[in-house]
Chain length 359, copies 2
């Protein structure tokens, strides 16, 4: 049976990427060696790293002011590394609190300098993206989480400010075009739209660095990795290779504008299935804040007893990963780049069939 | 043609591990999904993580005093993380300087507390393991690099001291039994004997932690990862899986005593080929310090012109990765667990044939 993988991350990647990655583990480019056993300084792997960097630049339209890094440690390491490299007692980091990941970023930053939470949707259990709040002058940066994987909200427009942004784009990078010039730094754990777990993308504006006085361990200083082209030490070879293959697929399939069209069509189908269905409710307050990547929904009040039967029917139809994040419950259908519209239709049909039976 | 991979790291892994890893990228355990697209919190992956931890404990005979962590960032991140978590101004870290990696560990530690280099072989270009030096009392720990990947030296006996050791075992972990009770902390980048690049093993004695006063970012505090079983955030799924497969292979092939016998036989063959050959010289001063993992050698003085022709003959015979580290030149044959004696014989034969032609 064909599987439809709605997992929030690690998540679906294009099928041809899995095929090529499996082959590279057996024999990389006809070398007679596995990709896993060759030197990260071999011409064969440095070509991969170069191509991955060029694809990131190309797809996002990055100017020369930016550097592209492939690091380790996940987006969670960027929560503190951004502040460690950009913030000190002379400055102030502004943060918008739109979910658990934003909250962790705020917590980690506080150790490195003054932090001001300029807006938060915490009081409404993060069911909206705050809008219309004043943004103070003189912030070192304004940190946002562009897509809130757990709560199913997403920025459709960037905050209006002259201050440069720092953004956690873990769950919507490469899903649509971005005005990258607005950012000092963008980071993303690869394991949604970009690749498998084990590599973290960092895009940083060179002129934002070197302004804090503190000691930074060599491995935590972005400048180390800029100078050494992400090869100061052994980079995560296989995760980078699979990311490169995935970005090649994005480009071959029309780039970010094409991804956006594809993703919006899937989201439309998914939210229509939720809204039209009498057994299910979306969790996000306003339609405009709904994530194109992660559609979160619940059973209507009083029918929570149908939780397990619904997940069972999903599994029977080959739809996996539909369970919501353990911290919020309910359901979540993640609709990353690699997912087809047909798979979303399968889930919509399951919801419909379920309602025929139980409503 | 069969390839004989003498690369220093990323390095050769057992052939069946490559086969199983490739299959898991296509379809993991018959799930109909790639290992790369499943949640790190799925029962299928947590079983992998558990088995990997149990194998590490089992193979090394770890007591309950120790925790086993699978982290990101490479051994290079451990250079500072060890000191950040264990050392402060009230203590003193002792270091033995036996090569470039030791020197980096010393440099990174200095930011976190007093550091004393108790012995160094730097003056002789790191061609020996220091012995018979006094070790001061009252050290917080004594840091050693058990195998010096670049210079081809290896500790055959641990320093005599009651102080607990901290060790970089990146290039000889799982190659022989270790008296683990002597250590407060052991770390190793996976990409030699344990797995592919992208995961770092840390073994830490619980009672060594929590003694420094400084703020430690959540992701850099070993206690975070202990509490969350290496899943505080998304772990490097595929590198951990391949490491688990490799450790299974080590166990199925007799464990660390069997690895030791196997590795010593290969090293004996390799060093005999070097010593008996009039064109080549070993680089390590005393036979007892020679690494069982990385055999370093040079052309004899005056015949450096033969450098390129020798590497060419190696490649023709399928022997790859024989070039020495870019910082020292010469040659290096790495003989990790997964390498067969037959492959070492092929290299020895190449050296012999080369000498027949040129000596
Ligand atoms: C928006 C966002 N930020 C951060 C993270 C944490 O990423 P990592 O597990 O790579 O540390 C996640 C993980 O799902 C996420 O969705
Ligand atoms: C002994 C030793 N320590 C540390 C390192 C650095 O490891 P990593 O590249 O994982 O940071 C290496 C790499 O070869 C090594 O051989
Ligand atoms: Mg969230
Ligand atoms: Mg509805
Ligand atoms: Mg060395
Ligand atoms: Mg000789």
């Amino acid at each position: 049976m064909k599987k439809h993988n709605f997992s929030a991350g690690p998540a679906i990647l294009p099928q041809p990427v899995f095929e090529q990655a499996a082959e590279a583990v057996r024999d990389f480019n006809g070398m007679g060696l596995s990709l896993l056993e060759i030197s990260h300084r071999s011409p064969q792997f440095t070509a991969v790293l170069d191509e991955a960097q060029v694809l990131v630049r190309d797809l996002l339209g990055l100017s020369d002011a930016y550097e592209v890094l492939f690091l380790q440690g996940g987006a969670s390491s960027q929560f503190f590394m951004t502040a460690m490299n950009l913030l000190d007692e002379k400055g102030k980091g502004g943060y918008v609190d739109t979910g658990s990941w934003s909250a962790k970023a705020i917590k980690e930053a506080q150790a490195f300098g003054p932090v001001e939470v300029v807006a938060s949707s915490k009081a409404s259990n993060y069911n909206a993206i705050p809008k219309g709040y004043p943004i103070p002058d003189g912030l070192t940066y304004l940190h946002i989480t562009t897509n809130n994987t757990i709560f199913g909200t997403q920025y459709k427009a960037l905050p209006e400010t002259a201050t440069r942004l720092v953004a956690d784009m873990s769950s919507d990078i490469f899903s649509k075009p971005v005005d990258t010039e607005r950012f000092d730094l963008i980071y993303a754990g690869a394991q949604k739209n970009m690749g498998p777990a084990g590599v973290t993308l960092v895009i940083v504006r060179k002129d934002a660095l070197g302004k804090v006085g503190r000691h930074i361990p060599t491995m935590l200083d972005y400048r180390t990795h800029i100078k050494k082209g992400s090869s100061f030490n052994t980079p995560p070879v296989f995760p980078i290779y699979v990311s490169m293959l995935t970005l090649r697929w994005v480009k071959a399939n029309g780039g970010l504008k094409a991804m956006q069209a594809r993703n919006e069509a899937k989201a439309k189908l998914m939210y229509e299935a939720i809204d039209s269905n009498p057994l299910f409710d979306g969790t996000v307050a306003a339609a405009e804040d709904r994530s194109v990547m992660n559609a979160t929904f619940n059973l209507i009040e009083g029918r929570e007893d149908l939780f397990a039967p619904f997940l069972e029917l999903c599994e029977e139809a080959g739809c996996s990963g539909v369970k919501g994040h353990r911290s919020v419950g309910g359901f979540r259908a993640s609709l990353y780049n690699a997912m087809d519209l047909e798979s979303v239709q399968v889930l919509a049909d399951v919801m419909h069939a379920f309602t025929e039976k139980y409503a």
